[in-house]
C-alpha cells in the first residue's frame, strides 16, 4: 500500500514539476495575499502583529484549496482515475498518494511564503519557533487530509470548484480555529504556551480521527 501511494505521490509531484500549474498558482496567490495585507496594515504598528496568525492561515487555506481542487480533477482527463482504480492496489493507496502530494506542495508554499511574510511585516520571533512549526504541520496535515478526501468527493460534481470550499470549511473549522488560536499564542504571547498546547492537542485528536475516517471511506467515494 505504501509503495503504491509513494508511486502516485511521485507521479503527481513529477507532473507538477513538468507543468508548474498548481504550485506556481499557489505561490503567486500566497504572495498576493501577503502584499495586500502589507499595504493594509502598517508593519511599524504593534497591533499589526495580531494580524499575522490570521494571514498565515488565510494563505494556507486558500492556496491549499487551489491545489486540492486540481488534485482529482487532473485525473479526469483521459479517465486516468480508472487507470489507478484497475491497478492492483486499494483505494486507500490512491488517497494516501494524493494526500502526500498535496501535503508536500502545501509545505513548499509555507516554506516560501512565510519567511516572506515575516520579512515584509518586520516580524521578530522570540522563541517558540519549534511550536510554530508543529502547529503549521498538524494544522496543514488535518486540513489537507480532509481536503483530499472531499476533493475526491467533489471531483464527480460539475461545479466541484464551488463545492469543495462549501464542504471543506464546515468540516475543517475546528482545525482552523485551533490552529489560528495556537499560532496567535505562540507568536504574540508565548507565556501562555499551555493554552496553545491544549489547542494543539485538540487539532491532533481531530487529525487522527478524520484521517482514519477518510482512509476507510475513500473506497466508497472513488467508485465509478
Amino acid at each position: 500500500m505504501i509503495r503504491s501511494a509513494l508511486l502516485i505521490a511521485k507521479k503527481d509531484l513529477y507532473s507538477e514539476l513538468k507543468t508548474k500549474q498548481v504550485l506556481a498558482t499557489m505561490i503567486i496567490f500566497a504572495g498576493l495575499v501577503i502584499l495586500v495585507f502589507s499595504f493594509a496594515f502598517d508593519p511599524a504598528n504593534n497591533t499589526t502583529k495580531a494580524v499575522i496568525p490570521g494571514v498565515i492561515w488565510v494563505i494556507i487555506v486558500f492556496s491549499g484549496i487551489l491545489g486540492l481542487n486540481r488534485s482529482f480533477i487532473s485525473e479526469q482527463r483521459n479517465d486516468t482515475m480508472q487507470g489507478l482504480m484497475i491497478a492492483p492496489m486499494d483505494a486507500s493507496s490512491i488517497f494516501l498518494g494524493k494526500f502526500l502530494a498535496n501535503f508536500s506542495m502545501m509545505l513548499v508554499v509555507e516554506l516560501v511564503s512565510l519567511p516572506f511574510l515575516f520579512l515584509l511585516f518586520d516580524f521578530q520571533m522570540y522563541g517558540g519557533f519549534g511550536y510554530l512549526i508543529l502547529v503549521l504541520m498538524i494544522g496543514s496535515f488535518g486540513f489537507i487530509s480532509i481536503g483530499t478526501f472531499l476533493a475526491a468527493l467533489a471531483a464527480n460534481s460539475k461545479s466541484s470548484e464551488m463545492l469543495l470550499p462549501l464542504l471543506l470549511f464546515p468540516v475543517t473549522s475546528p482545525i482552523l480555529i485551533g490552529a489560528v488560536q495556537a499560532t496567535k499564542i505562540i507568536l504574540t504571547n508565548i507565556e501562555k504556551l499551555s493554552s496553545a498546547m491544549a489547542w494543539i492537542q485538540l487539532i491532533s485528536a481531530y487529525d487522527v480521527i478524520f484521517f482514519v475516517l477518510c482512509f476507510i471511506l475513500i473506497e466508497n467515494v472513488l467508485e465509478v
Binding site: N78, D79, Q82, G83, L84, I86, P88, M89, D90, V224
Partner: protein
C-alpha cells in the same frame, strides 16, 4: 477463465444487465457485439472491477470477483474508450509508472520493448499530448499489456484507428492469444471481430441473445446473426 452467472447490474433503478450467463475458456478470443446501450461496456466494467454488480456471480480464474479484487486486478489488462494515459507524460514515463504500479520488474526495459512493438520508438520521450488518436491508442494497448495479463478486456479498441494502427493492434492481440491470453473485446466492427475472434457473443437489452463459434472468418455469418438478433431481420 471467466464464469458469469445470473449477473445483474442496476443503476438509478434501471436494469442494465438482466441476468448474464457466460462461460469463457482460457485462451479464447471473444467479441461482444450489440447495439448501443445493450450493456456491453457495463459488463466489461464489472469484470474490470470498476463497478460492483448488483447481484450474480462472477469468477475469474476460479476467483470470486467480490472477495478477490486485488488478485483479479493483477490478472487483467483493461483498455476502455479513453486511453488512461497522462498527457504531459511521454510513452516511456506512462508505461514505467503503470508498470511500477503492477509491480513488474525492469519496468523501463519492458516499456521500451513495448513502445518498439507498437511502432513508436521514435516518439519514446515525446509527451503523449502531441500524439494522434492512433498513436495514443497504440500506447494505450501497450499500457494494458505491460504486466502481461492472462486476461485482456478491450472496449471498442479499433474505433478511430487507421489501417496501420488496426493492423498493429490486431497483431498485438494475436500475439497475446498465441501466449494463451484470453481476450474479451467489445466492438461494433464486425470485420475485426470476424478476423481475430473465435467466438461471438451478441448482447441485447442486458442479456446474451446469441453465442456462437466462428468456424471460418465468415463476416457474412456475423452480420446475418446480428441482424437476426438485434434488428429482427432473417
Amino acid at each position: 477463465m471467466i464464469e458469469i452467472s445470473k449477473l445483474i447490474k442496476k443503476a438509478d433503478n434501471k436494469l442494465i444487465l438482466r441476468g448474464i450467463d457466460l462461460k469463457i475458456g482460457k485462451g479464447e478470443t471473444v467479441a461482444i457485439l450489440g447495439p448501443n446501450g445493450a450493456g456491453k461496456s457495463t459488463l466489461l466494467k464489472v469484470l474490470a472491477t470498476l463497478i460492483k454488480p448488483t447481484s450474480g456471480l462472477v469468477k475469474i480464474n476460479g476467483l470470486e470477483l467480490r472477495n478477490n479484487q486485488m488478485k483479479i486486478k493483477k490478472l487483467q489488462g483493461y483498455l476502455p474508450h479513453s486511453s488512461l494515459l497522462y498527457e504531459h507524460y511521454s510513452p516511456l514515463e506512462n508505461l514505467v509508472f503503470f508498470g511500477n504500479l503492477y509491480g513488474i520488474k525492469n519496468a523501463e526495459e519492458k516499456a521500451v520493448e513495448l513502445v518498439k512493438e507498437v511502432g513508436l520508438s521514435f516518439f519514446l520521450n515525446e509527451p503523449v499530448k502531441n500524439f494522434s488518436r492512433g498513436m495514443i491508442q497504440r500506447i494505450a494497448i501497450a499500457r494494458a499489456i505491460i504486466h502481461e495479463p492472462p486476461l485482456l478486456l478491450l472496449d471498442e479498441p479499433h474505433t478511430g484507428l487507421d489501417q496501420g494502427a488496426i493492423s498493429i493492434l490486431n497483431n498485438v492481440i494475436l500475439s497475446m492469444k498465441a501466449k494463451g491470453t484470453t481476450t474479451l473485446m467489445v466492438t461494433h466492427d464486425f470485420k475485426q471481430a470476424a478476423d481475430i475472434c473465435d467466438r461471438i457473443v451478441i448482447i441485447k437489452n442486458g442479456k446474451v441473445a446469441d453465442d456462437f463459434r466462428m468456424e471460418e472468418k465468415a463476416l457474412d455469418t456475423v452480420s446475418e446473426k446480428y441482424q437476426l438478433q438485434v434488428e429482427g431481420v432473417s
